[in-house]
Each structure stands twice: as C-alpha cells, then as structure tokens.
C-alpha cells in the first residue's frame, strides 16, 4: 500500500472485495436498466444510489469498535424484536398482514434487520458463555429461544423466506459455536420426519402449492409453475454469450415474473448468458471467501462468529435465490443480494458486509480501540 499517495482511510478498505462488488452492482444496474425497457427509472438509478449510500454506511459501520458491537448486541436484538411485534400488532389492527413500518422517510422491514441481528445476538451469547457449558443445555436453550421468537413473528406475517433466513443464520452460528455435532444431525433427522407433517399442516396453501409445483413445474405451466418455467426458459435461452444487452424477450415481454427483483438473475442470464452468470457466481465466491477468511483469521470468539454468521447470511440469500431461479428450489420470495432491486435487501446485505469489514478492521487493531 502506498500510504504516501492514498489517504489511509481509503487505502485501508478491502478493495479486492469492494471492486468486484461494485462490478456486480453495476451489472445489476445494467440489468435493471434493461428490465425497465432501457431506462434509468425506476430501478437502475435508485439501485446505484442505494448502493452508494449503503456503502458509505457500511464503511461507517466498519469503523465502530468491537466493544460497541458487543455492548449493542442485546439491545439491538431487543429493539428489532419489539419492532417485529409492533408490525404484527399494526397489521392486526389494520386488518391484514403487514411486514413494514412506515417511518415517513422510508419503509422499514424489521424482519430484514433481524437477519444480521440474530447473528449479532448469538455471537455475543456464545462469546459470554463459558466454554465448559457450551455443549450443555445451557448453551442450547437460550440460543434456541433467541432464534425462535423472531422466527415465529416473521413466520406469522407470513414470510417464510425471511423466517428461514433467520433460522439459517442463527443455526449456522450455533453450529460454528461448537455445539455437539450430533445435535445438528438429530435436528436434521427430525426435520426430515416433521417436514412432511408441517408441509400439510403449517404451510399456507400458496406455500404448499409452490412446493408441489417445484416438484413438477410442467404440471401447471400457466399457473404457479409459470414462474419456474419462464425463469428456466430465460436462463436457458441465453446460451453462453446471451442474447445481448437489451434483447431479453422473456423479461421485456413480461413472460418473466418479477424480472427486477426475485428473478433478476434470470433477466441477467438471458441477456448476458452463462458468462454473466459465472461472473455473478465469481463475485459472490470472492465476497463469501473473504468473509470466511476474515472469520477464520479472527482470534476472538465474538469476531469469528460474527463475521462467519454475516457471510453465511449473505450466502443463504445467494444460494436460495439462485437455486430457485434455476429450478432447484421452490419459489420463495428471496432476492439476490446486490442485484435485485429493493432497499431492504440492499440494506441487510450491506450491514452484513459492513460488519465483516468491521471485523476485518479489528484484526489490524486487535485492541478494538479504533
């Protein structure tokens, strides 16, 4: 690093991650520009603007010292949980399901905040838990409650995707915290038993239908299977080099549903082909690898768990979304990080990114006094 030319604040940033990320966001903006019929409005411009705003926020976040994170972990978790309950109450009063709070200047989706929130709270919990009782019930039950409460409120919104994301982020943090492996295997085993039961009792009709159609999209090509079929057509018809920028007929002629949000990858693949798809996968690989490396390089337990949990939260988004658009998972409303249009998703992912950046920064100043 050439400290003499570049100011230290700038030079310190993890540019090897941020530059590919900027490329990904730019590709996202290009796709959104095309999906809007060749116009910056209403998607592309706000997408880039949000990225810039949240990047500044993430850099700011990365400058917050470790102690502050530790201190704020439980209050932040509590506040988000209160917001979740508030949303539920407002929805009940308003006579319908509601997922967001209107703050006047923006709409806030508390369930989004809970995704990094749960990781933060659990990292704090396992840090403070004496090593000797980590593998006992005292290491399991409080953590389980921390996950179950927000997951329950998000589930009844109903927002299956986000509830799963919270459970996944929390579960992964617990796994990394060193809980006995066979507990997880046991849970996985019982899930395999419970899942079919839950499928027929807990899930809403539309959710059940989505799963059924996922098994056999062609059974209902114009109904619920439509999404998956059209998405596969968009990706498959792109070929290796794609149809070219602005030439995606599937998205332009409205065959592809949600071409700017959940199915943005299909929109991209149609125009940019497999090449574009591999680029997207590469950038996510860089980000996730970096996140994992930051976690492994951290010496203290809190930092390791926090960074790994955040990276895995991003990973969950990416994996589920991509599997969904390629027909490997049922349709769940989960956007693709950094590419899908949408403020909440961008905010969540940038919080995760900023947190990893913060952890990375603490390593250089292990005292956390920065």
């Amino acid at each position: 690093m050439n400290r003499s030319i570049v100011p230290e604040t700038i030079a310190r940033q993890p540019w090897h991650v941020l530059i590919p990320l900027a490329g990904l966001v730019s590709l996202g903006a290009a796709v959104l520009y095309s999906a809007a019929g060749g116009s910056l409005q209403p998607y592309a411009l706000s997408h880039v603007l949000r990225f810039c705003v949240f990047l500044v926020a993430a850099i700011t976040l990365s400058r917050i010292p470790r102690e502050f994170f530790r201190m704020a972990a439980y209050p932040a978790y509590g506040a988000i949980l209160v917001l979740l309950i508030l949303v539920e109450l407002l929805g009940a009063v308003g006579g319908g399901s509601q997922r967001w709070l209107n703050l006047g200047f923006m709409t806030l989706q508390p369930s989004e905040l809970m995704k990094p929130g749960i990781v933060l709270a659990l990292a704090r919990f396992y840090e403070s838990l004496p090593a000797s009782i980590t593998a006992s019930w005292r290491g399991l039950v409080p953590a389980g409650l921390l996950i179950a409460m927000p997951a329950f409120f998000v589930m009844i919104q109903p927002d299956l995707g986000t509830a799963l994301a919270i459970c996944f982020g929390g579960g992964m943090t617990m796994f990394l915290a060193g809980l006995p492996l066979w507990w997880f295997l046991g849970v996985a085993g019982s899930l395999a038993v419970i899942a079919p039961v839950a499928f027929f009792t807990l899930l809403h009709d539309y959710q059940r239908n989505r799963v059924l159609v996922f098994m056999d999209p062609e059974s209902d090509p114009l109904g619920t299977g439509y999404h998956i079929t059209q998405s596969k057509i968009a990706i498959g018809s792109g070929g290796f080099f794609g149809k070219g920028f602005g030439n995606g007929s599937q998205s332009h002629l409205d065959y592809l549903p949600e071409s700017h949000t959940d199915f943005v990858f299909a929109t991209m693949s149609e125009e940019w082909g497999m090449l574009g798809g591999l680029f997207v996968l590469l950038v996510f690989a860089i980000i996730l690898f970096w996140g994992l490396r930051v976690a492994r390089n951290s010496t203290d337990r809190f930092s390791s768990l926090l960074a790994a949990g955040m990276a895995l939260t991003i990973f969950f988004y990416v994996a589920i979304n991509l599997m969904m658009v390629m027909g490997l998972a049922p349709v769940v409303g989960i956007p693709l990080p950094f590419m899908s249009h949408g403020g909440s998703s961008m905010m969540t992912n940038m919080i995760c990114l900023g947190t990893i950046m913060a952890v990375s920064r603490w390593q250089r100043r292990p005292s956390g006094l920065g």
């Binding site: 000797s132 593998a135 990706i235 018809s237 599937q250 497999m274 591999l278 492994r296």
Partner: protein, 692 residues
C-alpha cells in the same frame, strides 16, 4: 440425561471445532457454487436449443390470416358476392374466465341491443369451446378501438380487422349464392384445418358458397407478431399475405337477377330466365328470401322467428325445390308431341265446355265452350277439350317422351345443393310406383298438366327455351367464353313454327294473355299461361279466399317470337291464377331488352309494396325486434335450417280422378306417397277446375 451431559469443553477445543466446521461450511459453499455453475451450464448450454425454442414460441405468436374469399361474379364481372373490409369482435369461449362479466362489458362497449346479447348467449351455449363466436362485425372504428384497448381485461375476446362477405343485392341472390357462416363442429371434425377455427373465418353454408367452397376458399396468410405475456402485440415481425380464393364467374346477369327477385314483390314465387342460344341461366330468383348478409353471423332469434312465421317459406329455393303441377304450360309441348305423332294441325274438335271420357265428364275451363278448336286455337285459347280429345287418340307415351325431351322430369348437372326433379307420369311409371294400371283419365289429367305431373320452375324455363330454339339446351350456370353450340332436338322446324305462332297469339293474338305483351312495338313475346289448382272446387274457387287455397299461377315465354333470344318461366305460388305470373314475366323480359323501361315500372310497384325486398326485410326485422326483443324462441340447429329447404313430404293419398263434379265414386289408392318428392298436398281435379 446423557444428551446434555457436559463433556470436557475448553476454549481451545471450541476454537478447534470452529476451524474445522468453518472449513466444512466453506467446502459446502464451494460445492453449492459448483452445483449452481453446472446447473447454469446445463440450462444454457446443454438445453439451450430447447429453451431458445420455447422462448421464441413465447415471444412470437403465429396467427392465421383468413384468406379473402373468392368473389362470385355475374356474367359481366360485377360481384354478386364480394368482400368488404370489416372491424369485428369475436370471443373464444374456452378462454373466457368470467363469461357473464365479459359479455356485460362487451355489450356496454359495443352498445349491443338486448336481442343481440340474447343471440350471443344462445350461440355461446351451443359453441364448442375452441371455435370463435362472433360478437359483432361491421363495427365502426370508435367501438372497435374501445374494445381493443381493453383487451387485457377481457380474456377470450379477440378483435380483428379483416374482411367479411358482402352481397350487394342481399336477398335477391340469397337462394342462388347461399351464405357463409362460422364452421360448425362437424365441419371442423371433417377437415381438421386450423383455419376453420380462426376467428373471423367463414365457410359456405348453402348454395354456390357451399358447392364451390374449395375454390372460393384460397390459402390463408400468416402473421408473425411479437406479443407480451398479456397478449398485447408489440410489433409485426413478418407477414405472409393470404392467397385469395378463385373467383367464380356465373352466367347470371346480376342486374337481371336483382330485377327478377324484386319484381316478384310480395308474392311467393320463382323466376328463371335463360339464354335461348346457349342455355345459360341468366337469372334464377326465388322469393321471399333471406338476407345472406345478416346470416353470416349466425341465424339470430328474430331472424328465425321471421322465417318461421312466414308462410311463404323463405328458406326454400323454389326454383329447384318447388314442385308444382305445370297446368296449361305443358300444352305447347303436348301439341308438339301430337304433331310428331302425325296429327294435322288443322284437325279440329268441337268444344262444348266438356268432354265425356268413359262415364265421367271432364270440363273445359271455359264452361261455355270454345266451339270448333284446331291446334292453334287449342293453345292460344288453352282449350282443355282439344287436348282431352286428341290425347286419347295419341296416347300418353309420346306425350311423356316429348315432356322428357323438353326437360321436364329431368335433373340437370348444375352446381346447386339440391334439385327436386318432379314427375313426368306415364303408364310404366304408374305401374312401378303404385302397381296400378294407367287409366284413360290419367292421360286426360296429364295432358293439361295436372294429375301426377310435377315440375320445378327451372324445368319449365328449360322447356320454354327448347320449345323456342328447337335445340337441346342444357342449363348452365358457370360462365365460359367458348360455349359449345347445343345440338338440335331434331324437331322439324315447321312444327316449331306452328307452336311459335300459336304461343305468340296467346299474347299478341286472340289469346289468353294480352296484358303480357311487351311495351315495345318491334319485339313480340310468345308465351303460354298456366293455372294449377291447389284445392278442389269444393274447398275454394282458387281465386280468392285463403291464400293457401289459391291456385298457382304459371307463365312460360320467350322473345322475340320470330327469333327467340331469351326464355323466361315464372311461378307464383297461390297467385290465384296465371294472371299473377305473366305480368312478372313480361317485365322481366322487358328488362332484357329495355332495362330503363322495366325499372320504371318496378319503382312504381315498390312504392306500393313499401320499398325493395331488402328494405322490407329490414323493416320487418325492426318490427319483430321491437315486438319480441330477446324473447323470440331460440333458433334451431343448423341442420334444422337446412331441412326447411326440403319440400314437405306429402302424407295425403293422391286422388286419381275428377272430384268435382263427382260423376261417380273414385277408387283411392290406399298407399300414401312417401318416397317421391312431390308438391304440397295437391288435390287433383281436372274438369271444371282448370280455369285459365
């Protein structure tokens, strides 16, 4: 509980486990990454062809452009049936999600009358899902656009700019040309051509439209358009023009056809005009008729009610399907057979108003008698006794042979959907048909065109043209430049001259139809009247009373009398006698020589009748529409409508003998007639019942 028994766990073991587990998770992530990459490769490389195709079939919508139907032209090349540009709206029943709401919305946008809405519902009820049902055609741009912009909210509704069949003279060509309509399920099953279920496509349903369907159809074009998922057309990609069907050129003279049809006026009748040189049919009109223009969107309730209420049977093509006893119009033909059998034209018989045959008296129409009657007077005064007398001497067989030679009882090779060819009775026929021997009174009846004699108006026209020309003219309807000259019938010219002179005298001499003379000094018309009794004199006198009981009026003629050019036959059902028929024949013939003069006469009549046939039909429709609204009974199936064209089967026994006055009881054949197509319930009654 062994499950929660704390093991020895230290910070170091936790760190160790974190390292191992994060490595595993990293591995799993990499695995999923590889899985996604290979899935991506599978979709976009291995399955690229398949998905490219599916994407194209999404994007591109191929729609057939119905071919423009070939025109039907008259002999001068002006259209009897053409196509006109049309804005139309159809619905495809299968694709409608909320039928009631969609129809309600369409009715509002198109400002449909309640009766039209009712008709649409009827059609939808009988529709077969995949086949488009016409909502409205001939729309103005405003209403068309109003529906077009709302298409995304109206699933199953199709708007089209296309062509629709247009018959400029409407009802005048109804029976001749037929009409078109959407293909029925049976027609689609038979051909399996997707064109048949293309919105807006019509097939011929009757007449020439049906006979020449293959020629008129042409080949559809195709239009490739880019469409959105919602069905909105983004742009045209490529259009292959349709290949219009071949035109059919007829021998029909369009204006003459229209004139003849309109001249029939309020009567129920038929007019056939033929060329005496070539046999070409110049006009064949049957009235009342339907308006083929209004049939193309299906037959609605009001239309059906109008047709069903009309005792003039507007659905029957009387030219080909109407069978009538020819009455005295056969007399020139019978006289010709006498000449051929060697009878001297000056040989005469005394007519005292009747003739005793066996133990019965057959009356002449003129009860006072004609005095001494030779052949010429027998024809121009239409003396029945002359024919009663000599027919007994000559016998039935030569008469029947001549009748067939002149075209009676014959079926002609014409592009029509059906002909009823009637009966030329002779001893062999009666034996075959009833198993009874020919009686002398059968000859007597037949010789004045009654008894078992049944002909259709086309045959009468053919008879007139063959009588006039002496040529074996065969009626034709398809125009060709090089018509083969017809062979002669082999009848000596002097025989024909005698008949011609007598027929001319019918009109221009001391005959029965003076008012049939043409209004031109230099052109003489030759003709023969005929009156066929419908009911016995004990029921009605044939002149007045119930319309159904009045006599049929006939007239056959040709002109000019010395050098025949055209022949015309007219039948007026229940016209009350030949007096209803020959003015029509005269005016039609006038039109052939001097159209202006004829049209002037027609316009005078039409003022009294309440307009042209088209105008009267339209007025009637409005009146019915007002009276019944949507409450008229639903129209029957298409097959039923076709059946209405068939002549009704006679279910009364034929009476073979004079009924009035009854000199003696007559044996009735007990077998009712079923198989033979025959005229509507006719009671035969030669003597006394055959006024001219």
């Amino acid at each position: 509980m062994s499950l929660f028994r704390p093991r020895h766990v230290s910070m170091a073991t936790l760190r160790n486990s974190f390292d191992r587990r994060s490595m595993v998770i990293g591995g799993v992530q990499a695995g999923i990454g590889i899985l996604l990459a290979s899935r991506l490769g599978y979709l976009s490389i291995a399955q690229n062809e398949k998905y490219k195709l599916e994407s194209e079939s999404n994007r591109v919508n191929l729609s057939l452009i119905p071919p423009r139907r070939g025109w039907i032209l008259d002999r001068r090349g002006s259209p009897l049936a053409s196509n006109r540009a049309d804005f139309r709206v159809d619905v495809i029943p299968d694709r409608m999600t909320n039928e009631g709401q969609t129809i309600g919305e369409l009715a509002r946008l198109l400002r449909m009358q309640p009766v039209d809405v009712q008709d649409l519902r009827d059609k939808l009820e009988k529709s077969h899902g995949f086949a488009p049902v016409e909502v409205m055609s001939g729309l103005d741009w405003e209403r068309f656009a109003a529906v077009s912009v709302r298409l995304p909210d109206l699933p199953g509704v199709v708007t089209q700019r296309g062509f629709s069949r247009f018959y400029p003279t409407g009802p005048s060509v109804g029976h001749l040309v037929g009409y078109v309509g959407a293909a029925s399920a049976e027609e689609y099953e038979k051909e399996r051509d997707p064109l048949l279920v293309t919105p807006g496509y019509k097939v011929g349903k009757d007449g020439l439209e049906k006979i020449f369907e293959k020629d008129l159809r042409g080949y559809p074009g195709a239009r490739r358009v880019e469409v959105t998922a919602g069905g909105r057309v983004v742009r045209d990609l490529e259009t292959r023009e349709d290949m219009p069907g071949k035109p059919i050129k007829l021998t029909i003279d369009g204006p003459l056809q229209d004139y003849a049809a309109r001249r029939i006026g309020l009567e129920s009748g038929a007019v056939v005009a033929m060329d005496c040189h070539t046999g070409e049919v110049l006009a064949m009109a049957s009235m009342p008729s339907y308006d083929p223009n209004s049939f193309s969107d299906g037959i609605g309730r009001i239309e059906w009610k109008m047709l069903a209420d009309d005792d003039h049977v507007p659905l029957r093509n009387k030219v080909l399907r109407g069978l009538y006893p020819p009455g005295s119009t056969v007399k020139p033909m019978v006289a010709l057979s006498f000449l051929e059998a060697g009878l001297h034209p000056e040989e005469s018989v005394f007519c005292g108003g009747g003739l005793r045959v066996g133990n019965r008296v057959f009356h002449c129409w003129n009860r006072r008698g004609h005095g001494q009657v030779n052949m010429a007077k027998g024809i121009y005064q239409s003396c029945d006794v002359y024919f009663y007398h000599f027919a007994q001497r000559i016998g039935m067989d030569p008469i029947a042979a001549m009748a067939r030679r002149l075209g009676l009882g014959q079926e002609f090779k014409l592009p029509v959907v059906g002909q009823s060819y009637g009966t030329v009775p002779d001893p062999a026929w009666k034996k075959r048909k009833y198993g009874k021997d020919w009686a002398i009174y059968d000859t007597v009846n037949a010789t004045i065109g009654q008894g078992y004699f049944l002909v259709n108006p086309l045959q009468q026209a053919v008879m007139a043209s063959r009588l006039a020309s002496g040529l074996n003219l065969v009626p034709s309807m398809l125009f060709t430049d090089k018509a083969k000259p017809a062979p002669t019938l082999g009848i000596p010219q002097e025989h024909l001259d005698i008949i011609h002179k007598a027929m001319s005298d019918v009109v221009n001499g001391p005959g029965t139809a003076h008012r049939a003379a043409l209004p031109m000094k230099d052109i003489l018309l030759a003709g023969k009247t005929g009156t066929a009794q419908v009911v016995g004199l004990n029921v009605g006198n044939g002149k007045g009373g119930l319309w159904k009981h009045r006599d049929h009026g006939h007239f056959i003629c040709f002109a000019p009398a010395d050098k025949p050019r055209y022949a015309v036959a007219v039948v007026v059902e229940h016209g009350g006698g030949s007096g209803a028929a020959y003015p029509i024949a005269r005016d039609v013939m006038t039109y052939l020589f001097d159209p202006n003069k004829a049209v002037e006469v027609l316009h005078g009549y039409e003022k009294e009748w309440g307009g042209t046939a088209q105008q009267r039909l339209d007025a009637k429709y409005r009146a019915y529409s007002q009276a019944y609204g949507g409450g008229a009974p639903a129209p029957p199936s298409e097959e039923k409508v076709e059946a209405a064209d068939q002549p009704p089967a006679t279910n009364q026994p034929i009476v073979s003998g004079p009924q009035t006055p009854p000199p003696e009881p007559v044996a009735l054949p007990s077998t009712p007639v079923t198989a033979e197509p025959s005229a509507p319930a006719i009671t035969l009654s030669p003597p006394g019942g055959n006024p001219q």
